[in-house]
Symmetry: D2
């Protein structure tokens, strides 16, 4: 019920505001006996950290995670794992002039209306900085899944107008972090970077698409009928700030396909296992994983904070001219890659544990 | 936790298999004092009923809902509302030959693997007939919302290759049910029908897209951070059989838009209320409703059961030729329209009640 | 969240009113592959059925359970198991005069206040007839537990002033159902019966205590810190109509014991397993089962409906003289025995499944 | 689902081990707009702090709570409220010799068995120090309830053999904290103190009973059928370390009462409101509050850690003589009083919010 908790068995609760003392979370339901690879967790955080290139925000924080509980001699104990990342580079005064202004396409107006007021410092709870806690939770979920051979890899497949025009099966997934835009195809990555710098030069922003692939998932994850695997993935993705769409397998394209073209026939695979000959389904049928790769795409809207001026209104309905300013990303997708991976890991880990009760 | 329950405060649990005794559900959390308009509920069920036209399955059932509890003198009492719809036109023998076969892109293989066996009669629990219970639950949610002036309307905006090329604001939403394909634009509806009959003649099937609009939603519905309104809508939609994608507002299009183009500036509206001048956001910002129309699109894959033969495998990995047969829809979207409306109503009603606790 | 659902992994939702169409429930989360022993379920229902002796209500219903879903060839499929028991012997006119009256110590006043009105026929949803659904759900949970050697046995250890003054270890638990009061010690049972008939003759009622023993529970069930095994048992018991108290192990007696007297020291048991030398703890330490017998006691208040007249008020605050009438139990405990067993089974089955996620 | 979370709408998640970095929690679902009285919260913590008298543990920590999120200018924002209390006076070496020993009637054996190992430092997660987080959460719940005139007061009504032999209505509830044993009747308090010092001198420990009273609760709180108010209170109480029993109203005494004696007849009260003439029911009927005082009693077992030696076993089944040592309470009830109040506040606040959805 709690709106800041995600998951049923492997649960992550997050807390914290952009300019509060800390961003953090509590993981409840992580089985005992998992050895924590702190270096892996640190790497995931590093990947979403701002201040890394000319296309991301220059807010500079080390984002060091401090674990408060649930671990004994580097192994999970079955008790809740609490952690926090202190906010250090906060400049709340930068936001004071926004106190009574509703910035376009931000959470200012809706949160203020819902709760009667808002913490206006740096976006408060609505800040994408909250995703730090998701990355930590997701990293631990990934560590759990890796022990079973499940791997998650996301990458940027579209930035603004530039799209990667090859399927994930034809790119080198290990190359995602070899460039700033997180696109594993180097020529496309270069085009994306040029495009983003161009947009940035105009004081504008844009959106993009992230593709995510999950490999090594066993057959059987997902719970009919409401907690279908794709339903929980869709919720996870749409809970990320700025996400506007989700599709898996052939997605929206499937709407205009013929059944004879889209259907994945079964056949005997290696070792006699039943497999699908094709994978238009995206690794999920009837809400349950087929054993093939799960893949999906998530669309993100343009960053709402512009570096050029915009018209909007204050809480009294007066027109306000909002000067462009700040240290914001020109496009959210490069830094959202580890967040997509984290949310995916939370969903898969949760269903991996839930599936332990499917049979007597 | 329970996988067959949807919602947090307004909860629907569904049960039943295609060829079992009944499909039904339990609504828990419906406030006391709601007068039930049985005619409205009956109409919603009628809209998803098969056997209505040449493009839908010929399975013919009256689908009469019987209420078992929670109502006293036609008013909800606050107690759980249980209901069931008996299965009458079941022909299980039609499915006996499928007992050991895994039909392409159906739930046969995954359910069988997950649970160790399956109820193979008519698709069992994985049958779209389960959505009957969602339609009843959603109809009651709609009755609740209507008392607050909230209205939900879905329609077919794409069927196979034929798309409606006008925004929802330019069509007459009251005309949705004036034709068999559930597209409110008559010329487009005709093109869709021709296209579907053509596909049917070839023994094939196709997919489509449903657009849904929610009007009259007050500002403030939705719970940050994981239970954002769009996240719960995405989960609701992707939990519908055959759904492959969800997008709201500008959706995937927003990925290539500029921030200056996509942002919705605020301004003073009628009566001094703060409103957005445009609605690229699709009625939700920061996970919370803005007061503008909420609109989104749901993609559906082609129907997996074909009227022509297909290759697949049985449980031993032997190749099997599956004869085309049965009485199935050529395209799922016309009958999925009331299901999309129902799931939308469940989400909005749930958040409408949850929002009662946002302030002291 | 849903108030009519019990359990986290093995979940029972109940529905129905005393004089509505049916009492029923939905079990969600029962693993696939459990063979249902219908005779066992029928027996459990038979044990709570009224009309069996001079100390119970004469309402006479066959209470036949009809399963609607989730079972295929007598085996659970993993899908929700819905069931219902039709109400047949309802005489709503017997209650018409109570429409505007608040009977003493019944749910009339509080439900009416909470919901604005109430279904006054036979107690509506507040009727103990709702426990029928718990007995069915609990019977299926018991079938699941029996496969792991876990057995549950409850019995009447106090009826009015007559108490069984021997510990459960000194009575023959297989003799519980050999008499009408459900006390396994025949001389005590006779005293109880005489006492109850005496009270009945005076038009009065009384309460009692049920003791419950769970044998064969493995070490490790229960979840710290809020979902301790005893906490979930306490909730389960206090959710039964008329229950007023719960204690496990030495219970309230432990308050005046010395630590040196109450502590259960550990020692090597059969096969080298660690066991406690005594069991003052009642089979649970730190919220988790020790492997010893779990035992607890549940207190029930006197039946509120009297066969003699009582003073009370109507909804306008006018004094009303309530004539004694009806066909009610003189004491609730004999028929509550299977309900206590059922709720215990639900708790243990739920924790038995939850424990599957305790380790990686 | 999450085992370390309590509540449905007003939710508290706790984390932390006795000798870890911190004990803390996250409150999710606290409505926006509540002004936090930090002094009140500090007082509640002070009341459960050890080191205050000769009958409590000498572990001396300041237990200062640090809030990390969810508050803006001292007012709750609707976002999760995270907080922590650093552990400072930890002497883990004191516990090293217990690493492989299972102390009698502690959580050592069961946790070790469940999770495969345990954090043996100071009791780890099973330490009563975890209740610090409950006290903070409960204090905020109390602040919420106080705005509606609901007050909670608990006190010691039994310590070892010494019992307070007057009902709560005949004692001065404001005097609870005027003495070290938290019994509002001074002569009884003195007897309790003498008794406890006597037990302590013998190196032994004992148990006790806490009575709790909730005043000002409106009619209508509580949710049938499983989430009855008393059921949630029972769970809350039995989730407290060392609690062994719960009873409300006449509790176990009601088992031997006659219906005519126990029933609370209704009558017109002040201002024409319907009230009960007596309150044997303990303020709850049919699972829902009547508007009268809610009162209940909670039994606690003797403290398991003795100051004298005890026999037990290690993990290999070898007999071990456990030297008495440490700085522990002779009786848990004095310091458990604010914990009982806190858990009560969590239950009432949760139901107070849930009740907002009872009617349309």
């Amino acid at each position: 019920m709690s709106a800041n908790t995600f998951g049923n068995t492997f649960c992550l609760t997050t807390f914290g505001e952009s300019h509060g003392k800390a961003i953090g979370g509590v993981i409840d339901g992580c089985p005992a006996g998992l050895h924590l690879d702190y270096e892996f967790i640190r790497e995931q955080l590093e990947r979403r950290r701002p201040g890394q290139s000319e296309i991301t925000s220059s807010r500079d924080e080390k984002d060091e995670v401090e674990f408060l509980s649930g671990i004994f001699e580097d192994v999970t104990t079955g008790a809740p794992i609490a952690f926090m990342i202190k906010n250090t580079d906060t400049r709340s005064d930068d936001y004071k002039h926004l106190k009574d202004v509703f910035r376009p396409s931000q959470a200012d107006f809706t949160w203020d209306s819902k709760y009667g007021f808002r913490d206006w410092r740096g976006g408060g709870r609505a800040s994408a900085r909250e995703t730090l806690a998701r990355v930590v939770g997701g990293a631990i979920a990934q560590l759990l899944l890796r022990k079973s051979g499940i791997k998650i890899c996301a990458f940027v497949s579209q930035a603004g107008w530039v799209t990667l025009d090859r399927p994930y099966t034809e790119v080198d997934l290990s190359a995602v972090y070899s460039n700033k835009v997180r696109c594993p195809d180097e020529p496309t990555a270069q085009k994306m970077l040029t495009h983003l710098l161009d947009i940035r030069a105009k004081g504008d922003t844009t959106g993009g698409v992230i593709t995510c692939v999950v490999q090594g998932v066993p057959v059987g994850l997902g719970e009919p009928v409401f907690d279908k695997l794709q339903a929980d993935l869709a919720k996870a993705m749409l809970s990320i700030n700025a996400a506007k769409g989700f599709e898996y397998g052939e997605g929206f394209m499937s709407a205009s396909m013929m059944g004879s073209e889209h259907n994945d026939r079964f056949t005997a695979g290696a070792g006699g296992a039943i497999v699908t000959a094709t994978n238009h389904s995206g690794g999920i049928q009837g809400g349950i994983s087929t054993g093939s790769d799960i893949f999906f795409r998530v669309a993100f809207k343009p960053v709402a904070t512009l570096m050029k001026g915009q018209q909007t209104a204050d809480r009294n309905g007066n027109d306000v001219w909002l000067e462009g300013k700040g240290r914001h990303d020109v496009c959210v997708v490069p830094r959202a890659v580890p967040v997509v991976e984290a949310m995916t890991a939370l969903v898969i880990a949760d269903h991996w544990l839930r599936n332990r009760s499917s049979k007597i």
